[in-house]
């Protein structure tokens, strides 16, 4: 009786501490992750706001009605050009504002003649080529209109004479942003239509535009398959590296655990493999590059994959796990006349799924995140991995903080999936290697 009560007492304080510490740590460690996620949805301006803001603001939808009544009739293309000027120019002037979309409606004598629509992801992706500065001229749009059409940055719907009637609007909305748009239309001689109304609404669907913008910019950079290409490269590199490590590391680990009886030799080989983790990788950059050049592997995925075949910790983990497999079992197989390789494949491997899973995950992350070596050894974009491409993306002038956060968020997803599916295998794998006291 006494004993159990004592145990319970200790148990209670232990449980309390356990929960308190665990919750504290997980909450603290989540702050950067949460900040990253919330920033991905924020406008660039809000990211550096002080005091810090956690809740992203909903982007604004600006709806402008331009009246062409009383003006000389124009061609459809001229209206389109005017609509694009009315969209892209004032937006560029207010590039730091949280604008989610701009709609321009053209009316003539009370009838709708066209509607133009641009969302912020298109604006971000197109801005460097469409409106690289605030030096606006009418001639500029002549050159840019074909680009807008070709890349489908804005949509333009023409109603002509068949447009519906438009009721009188409510004038210009009372907000700083709307009045700045109104000022621009008022002062600019480029835009022909007269402002009838400017409305502002919240457009919550545009909160995801930093994600869409990253994707559009990537497509700009690398063509429709481009970003997929990087993903495919990364997948090839990561999977091959993991496969090579599993195969070579598994064989070597098995040999160390079961086939070398001489303690001194065993120790020698362990040190031979383990000592390599003490070499600063970054200092091998140049010799390794020269080696790859001699092997004619520069600018190929092999150049990234092959060096991963040598990572000391792996063999150590395999050895730890394989030592748990009973020698009698292996002996029995040998007695049956199985070759050592068949013993390994048919008896050892099936028993060792957990350690293979554990090693896969442990190596997956560093290979996936590797940056400097792939960049140095492969300078042609078709051999870039996802990480290299992502870093390159971050250096582009139209990529904002929120897009960097969005791209980081996206790059977490493959790892997240792996973790969710593999967690229990890792635990089992380590459980085995770990028993060894």
């Amino acid at each position: 009786m006494k004993r159990t009560r004592m145990a319970e007492k200790g148990q209670r304080s232990l449980s309390f501490t356990a929960y308190a510490v665990t919750i504290l740590f997980t909450v603290f460690s989540l702050i950067p992750v949460l900040w990253m996620v919330s920033s991905a949805f924020k406008s660039d301006k809000d990211i550096d706001a002080y005091p810090p803001k956690w809740i992203p603001q909903i982007p604004q939808s600006i709806r402008v009605t331009l009246d062409y009544s009383g003006l000389e009739p124009m061609e459809q293309a001229d209206y389109e050009k005017d609509a694009m000027e009315a969209t892209w120019f004032p937006w560029m002037k207010n590039i730091r504002e949280n604008i989610g979309e701009v709609r321009i409606t053209g009316i003539r004598d009370g009838k709708k003649i066209f509607q133009a629509y641009t969302e912020s992801s298109s604006f971000r992706a197109g801005q460097p080529s469409i409106v690289p500065s605030t030096l606006f001229t009418d001639r500029l749009m002549d050159r840019k209109l074909p680009m807008i059409r070709e890349k489908k940055l804005s949509t333009f719907t023409w109603y002509g004479d068949g447009g519906s009637d438009v009721s009188d609007g409510k004038g210009v909305a009372e907000s700083a942003l709307s009045s700045r748009f109104a000022d621009f239309y008022g002062s600019s001689e480029i835009i022909q239509g007269k402002i009838a109304t400017i409305e502002e609404k919240q457009a919550w669907t545009r909160m995801f535009d930093s994600f869409i913008a990253v994707n559009k910019i990537a497509m700009n950079a690398a063509g429709p398959l481009g970003f997929m290409k990087y993903f495919i490269n990364s997948a090839i590199v990561t999977l091959s590296s993991v496969a090579i490590q599993l195969f070579l590391g598994g064989l070597a680990g098995y040999t160390l655990a079961h086939l070398i009886a001489n303690k001194k030799w065993q120790f020698f080989w362990i040190m031979f493999f383990l000592a390599t983790i003490m070499i600063p990788d970054i200092s091998l950059l140049l010799p390794l590059y020269l080696l790859m050049k001699d092997l004619h592997l520069v600018n190929s995925l092999w150049a990234i994959i092959l060096p991963h075949s040598a990572w000391g910790i792996i063999i150590f983990l395999f050895k730890g796990f394989f030592e748990q497999i009973s020698k009698e079992l292996l002996q029995a197989a040998r007695v049956d006349g199985a070759t050592e390789f068949r013993t390994f494949l048919q008896i050892v491997v099936p028993l060792s799924v957990p350690i293979f899973a554990a090693v896969s995950v442990l190596t997956f992350i560093p290979v996936w995140n590797e940056f400097v070596w792939p960049l140095v050894v492969n300078n042609l974009p078709q051999y870039w991995t996802f990480t290299v491409a992502l870093n390159d993306l971050q250096n582009q002038s139209n990529v904002q903080q929120n897009m960097i956060m969005a791209s980081s968020f996206i790059s977490m997803i493959p790892l997240l999936v792996i973790f969710v599916f593999a967690q229990k295998y890792i635990e089992k794998g380590v459980a085995f290697s770990g028993v060894k006291g």
């Binding site: 550096d48 409106v131 500065s133 001194k264 960049l375 390159d392």
Partner: protein, 475 residues
Amino acid sequence: MKKKIRLSAASMLLLTVALTTAACGGNNGNGNGNASPSTNTAPENNAAASDSESPSASAQEDAVEIVVWDKPSADAADKAFKEEAFAAFEAKYPNIKVTHVEQTKEKEREQFMTAVAGGEQPDLYKNPYPDMESYIAQGIAADITDLWNGFEGKDGYLPSSLNAATVDGKIYGVPNDMYVTGLLYNKQMFADAGLDPAASLKDWDSFGAAAQKMTDASKGTYGYAILGMDWADWFFEYYVWQAGGDLTEKQPDGTAKLTFTSDATIKALQYYKDLKFKYKATQKNVVQSLDDNQKDFYTGRAASMIAGSDWIGGLVAKGMDLNNIGFSALPAGPSGKAPSQVGGSYWILNPKSSPEKQQAAFTYATYMTSKEYLQSVLQYNKDNGMFPNLLSVRTDVAVTDYVDGLPAEVVSGVQAAAKDTHLEYFLKARLSPYIVKPIQEALLNEKADLKSVLQTAQDLAQKEVVDKYNEEVKK
């Protein structure tokens, strides 16, 4: 038993190490054997190539192939324009075949250096001024004096544009572009504080007071974005010039002399410290990156910063109002002067390329900096609403002809700043870390004793860099 194993463990490790070193000795020979032919083969190959090329080139005008690292990235706004220019070049010089290679925007130096080390240096490469000194010293940049002197169009270039590529009268680079630095300020913020820019930017004291006035913690604004990160020496040198000195002196015999503890340097550093602690006119995060400084400026947080004349376009693209930008030479220091720094980039040739390739690369570089091409760039910029570089390496290209819509003050500010210019301090590439340290100490520690931190830095730089450098020069 256990002890024995442990002992053997230690001895095995030693054995490994011994083996490693022994193998190293063994491999040493191998390595030598391997490396020397490979280093020899590179030029030999080239020589062989040129042997086979030169007769035929003269006879049949066979194509010379050169590699240039200048491919625009796929998202570059002027990609189509560049590609047209590449095609135009090949049409004009059908016997030169140019392979354009793209470089990433990060770790460029690592990429270039590994390529050089791997014997894959491009025939033509564009690099900024500060790297020239060391590339020339290492023999990475080819001596193009003869090519240059035999080049008809050389007079079209601004004579001063060659300065940073000239060592002992020899020329090592074709000037590609230039910028001049000055003080960029936010006109609105000056006006809001009731300040007249001209008066405020007169000298150190007036600028300090003005910057202080524009610093308002409640609004998050401050007067001057100071550069205190590991490039701090870049802008700090200007203040030393303003105080009438420089960080180093090149002696007539080519050796270097450090002047970290000169009056001018101490005064300049004291002013830096004052801006931070006395006027409290800088950002608190003085070690923030140059990008962050720019961001503070275009978001209206910082009222002024030092900038290159070629940055204005980037700031405007990020949302800075063009009409709100002022550009002026820096406030004058105790010497009454405020020279601007000129920088830019050069095309450098691979010294190991065959003479034919060098000639072809030179032709390409001069084509890409020809009057016609630079004018077409300016016209392209103008047509596309892009902000031009306001300074040209050529005397026969008038940038002002292409600047419709630009505020006249900015254009004249840049031109005024370009009148009195200065090159960066001698041996910068090697001395930079030594001078950055005292600057950062002055900015981070209010109690720092400037004279002694500068003395420490100078002693260290003298011992670790300058003594060795001077020894090599005297050899």
